[in-house]
């Protein structure tokens, strides 16, 4: 499903990110860290979405975010999910020309 604006694309990214967070939470010893990490990056992504309301997204950037969502959807290992809780937002932000 293609997005037309940056906030729409980030909304889809955040939905996928929530699923990734749930997978990372399976590592009980890291539950708090996982949630702190997700909170920090979610705040960054939401901040960018708020700042770019109405901004049309470049099709290549939209496709990049879609690919990144597909990539984290493949992850089954909760340890790898935790690593991607940091990596995914960086990839998404770079795709739309933002600094992580």
């Amino acid at each position: 499903m293609a997005s037309t604006t940056v906030p729409e694309a980030l909304e889809r990214a955040l939905a996928a990110y929530a699923e990734l967070t749930a997978l990372g939470e399976e590592i009980e010893d890291e539950w708090s860290y996982v949630n702190d990490l997700a909170d920090a990056w979610r705040a960054r992504l939401e901040g960018v979405a708020a700042a770019r309301v109405g901004t049309t997204i470049d099709p290549a950037a939209d496709a990049a975010i879609e690919r990144a969502i597909d990539e984290i959807g493949r992850i089954a290992d909760p340890h790898r999910a935790i690593d991607w809780l940091s990596t995914f937002p960086q990839v998404a932000l770079l795709a739309i020309g933002e600094t992580p």
Partner: protein
């Protein structure tokens, strides 16, 4: 304070083989020249699920998109992608070791730009008079009279632990007890934001330890300001 080679136990011998792998050298050399975005690419691919090159090309339009002209930057992005995919294809356990070795090698390359190769050492213990020696060696050290440095290297923010922070802080404080300056630093191939979250959950002292996240890696090659 004095430096000493780490014991060559079985693990060290195996790991030395990985450290000497040409792929580690090649990837680290590329990443030493890389932009922060190219380093994020390497981080993603080396820890990725897919090894389909077209997926990664599409995922990083700022590096591979139609607006990026042919030239050094694009060529380097392509070389980093190729090397990272080679790491990713090694299998989970092996690529984990490769990733660690690459961050260490990258750190050594960047440090050598500032200090010269002769001063940079790997897998060294630091001994202090009257203090029981740590078993775990430091990943990279700079051994210069009056300007020693000790580095541990981590692939991700999750690798930052109380143990690692204690060891670095202990080295710095024991050196200070001997009136010797020792810079202690932790290089993390991950975003500063993630490092700060991790540090916020740990109790070990780290005010005297420099945290070097992915965005700031080039700082360790620059003269102190």
């Amino acid at each position: 304070m004095r430096f000493q080679d780490a014991a060559r136990d079985g693990r060290a011998v195996v790991y030395a083989g990985i450290q000497a792998d040409p792929l580690v050298k090649r990837a680290a050399a590329l990443l030493a020249e890389a932009t922060p975005a190219q380093r994020v690419l390497a981080r993603a691919v080396m820890n990725g699920e897919t090894t389909d090159v077209t997926s990664w090309l599409a995922m990083f339009p700022a590096l591979f998109g139609p607006s990026v002209p042919a030239g050094h930057e694009r060529s380097r992005s392509e070389a980093i992608l190729a090397a990272s995919l080679e790491v990713a294809q090694r299998g989970e356990q092996v690529r984990s070791q490769f990733r660690g070795a690459i961050v260490e090698e990258l750190t050594a390359i960047l440090l050598a730009r500032r200090t010269g190769e002769a001063a940079v050492h790997r897998e060294r213990r630091i001994l202090f008079d009257g203090v029981r020696a740590e078993i775990h060696p430091y990943d990279v050290t700079v051994e210069r009279e009056g300007a020693a440095e000790a580095y541990d290297c981590k692939w991700g923010a999750r690798g930052i632990s109380d143990d690692v922070l204690h060891q670095l802080d202990d080295a710095r404080s024991h050196a200070a007890d001997e009136d010797v300056a020792l810079r202690a630093a932790l290089v993390v191939f991950d975003a500063e934001r993630s490092c700060l979250v991790r540090l916020g959950r740990l109790n070990a002292p780290h005010d005297g330890t420099t945290i070097v996240p992915l965005e700031s890696l080039d700082r360790i090659a620059a003269p102190a300001s």
